[in-house]
């Protein structure tokens, strides 16, 4: 495969409710910053692809306005996935393999504050058997969390994930939820969807992020320490919760193996786990040991711009490689109820030949 690297990343600080700006106004400075940092001219970028979701805004073609932030004139080569931006990055990575273009812009945005996100996510479920009962996203995660606990885990283990995320987020100016609570503090609080408490659930965020990818020598020219994508893969599982083993993530395991997670040591992992128990399931599926720094940004539990949070994980890992804080990391994104679909991306400072 052709060597492709993340050469820049920009994100908007996640907030519970961005009151004044619409999606385009949120996105414009983020896209501009990613392009500026990449050192590649806006008009030189060969391909643009985005991830977003109509149902967040409650209007069809929500992604069309996003194009206004890019300056798509003269006309550009462009595509869009109705998926988290991490899958948009996958499409860009595939497109860069042709060899006729050398760079790509990937962006994603979500303004979940406009609607009732947990209820909106009910519309992802089987439209005949499940959606008519209206279980929301918290209930679907709660079913998985209970199965996880029944398999021999504890609510304290889950709370430990939240404690660590909130502490890590104190160093992250883009995070939305930070704090110094202890496990005991958190376990004293009420359930929101037993066995889930508020700390087990990612916040609802408005946010946006953008990444510029470049291939081969272009990446080397514009970036001192490119974060090379040495492996990327994604897999989907059966839709129904009843036919899956909810205590593991078979699709993450497969994607991780195919992306080569285990072939060399990992320094850092950014996992898109919107619920505490999911981080533990994902660590296991990816075979991450105790030496790996997991979600040093605070992860989705600290900032969760729906549709952009997966792409942000890739950006967070890449940024640590750019800065020299890490040599090799793994980023993960998820979609669908109870980790139905998962993407794994391995980034490595040593990737380019």
């Amino acid at each position: 495969m052709r060597d492709v690297a993340v050469v820049s990343f920009a994100q908007m600080p996640s907030v519970r409710h961005e009151e004044s700006r619409n999606e385009v106004e949120m996105l414009m400075p983020v896209v501009a910053e990613a392009i500026e940092r990449s050192g590649i001219g806006r008009k030189e970028i060969g391909f643009t692809v985005s991830g977003s979701c109509d149902y967040l805004a409650g209007v069809p073609f929500a992604f069309v306005a996003g194009l206004d932030s890019v300056g798509a004139w003269p006309p550009i080569q462009e595509s869009h996935v109705e998926m988290d931006g991490a899958w948009a990055l996958y499409e860009a990575w595939v497109r860069l393999q042709y060899g006729d273009i050398d760079s790509a812009l990937v962006y994603a945005f979500g303004k979940a504050s406009m609607g009732d996100l947990p209820k909106v996510l009910t519309l992802q479920l089987d439209p005949y058997y499940v959606a008519p009962l209206w279980p929301d996203a918290l209930s679907m995660a709660g079913l998985q969390a209970r199965a996880f606990l029944d398999a021999g885990h504890t609510e304290a283990e889950m709370a430990e994930v939240a404690v660590r995320s909130r502490r890590s987020a104190k160093d992250n100016p883009n995070a939305q939820v930070r704090g110094d609570e202890t496990v005991d503090d958190l376990l004293g609080r009420p359930y929101v969807a037993a066995p889930l408490r508020a700390h087990d659930c990612a916040p609802i965020s408005d946010g946006a992020c953008a990444i510029v990818l470049a291939a081969g020598n272009v990446a080397r020219d514009v970036c001192d320490r490119p974060a090379w994508i040495t492996g990327i893969d994604h897999r989907i599982e059966a839709h129904g919760l009843g036919v899956r083993d909810l205590t593991t993530s078979a699709s993450t395991r497969t994607a991780g193996e195919r992306a080569g997670v285990g072939s060399k040591p990992i320094d850092v992992a950014e996992l898109y786990a919107p619920f505490t128990h999911q981080e533990l399931i994902l660590r296991d599926a990816l075979g991450l040991g105790d030496g790996v720094s997991v979600n040093p940004s605070g992860g989705a539990l600290a900032a969760n711009p729906f549709m952009a949070a997966g792409l942000a994980r890739i950006g967070e890992v890449a940024q640590r490689i750019h800065r020299g804080d890490a040599s090799r990391g793994v980023a993960h994104a998820t979609s669908g109820p109870a980790l139905q679909q998962n993407l794994v991306c391995v980034l490595d400072a040593e990737g380019g030949k």
Binding site: G58, P127, P132, G142, L143, A147, A193, L241, G242
Partner: protein, 151 residues
């Protein structure tokens, strides 16, 4: 001068979608209307309930001759508590969503369990379908499951 406050207004998205269901889902829903619960036998021999049109393991089509009658009793395999029901929910007081493995089936079906208190819920508990009087051929023809004494 024009004010600087951004404007906000409610945007209502509502529609009464009508879904055609095809033969497999249609048969299951017809059964519910008649207070019958059926599963479907997958290619590996497992009985799936609710019955799906395509085998999740390998994508093969499942056909009507693979239907298997099931009891309206079963076991909770996992659950979560809904302390504040939404307007759309099957019950207007606190309840559990659960995966219920009906007797004779190998997989869980998502539905509501009316157990009164969260403390009454546990994995492995026995439940029985509680039917609506006015049934129309929908998953909501079972209004909920209710706890039963252990066998």
């Amino acid at each position: 001068m024009a004010g600087d406050e951004v404007l906000v207004a409610p945007n209502i998205l509502e529609y009464p979608y009508k879904r055609t269901v095809g033969p497999i889902i249609g048969r299951f829903l017809t059964g519910l209307r008649e207070r019958r619960i059926e599963g479907i036998r997958a290619t590996d021999g497992r009985v799936l309930c609710p019955p799906v049109e395509y085998d999740p393991a390998n994508g093969e089509s499942l056909t009507e001759d693979a239907f298997v009658p099931l009891a309206d009793t079963g076991t909770v395999t996992t659950w979560t508590w809904v302390g504040r029901p939404r307007e759309e929910h099957p019950l207007d007081h606190p309840f559990a969503f659960a995966l219920i493995q009906l007797d004779g089936a190998d997989t869980g079906m998502l539905h509501a369990v009316d157990a009164g208190e969260r403390s009454e819920m546990r994995t492995g508990m026995r439940v029985r379908a509680h039917w609506r009087d006015e049934r129309e051929g929908a998953i909501t023809d079972i209004c909920c499951f209710k706890p039963e004494q252990d066998a």
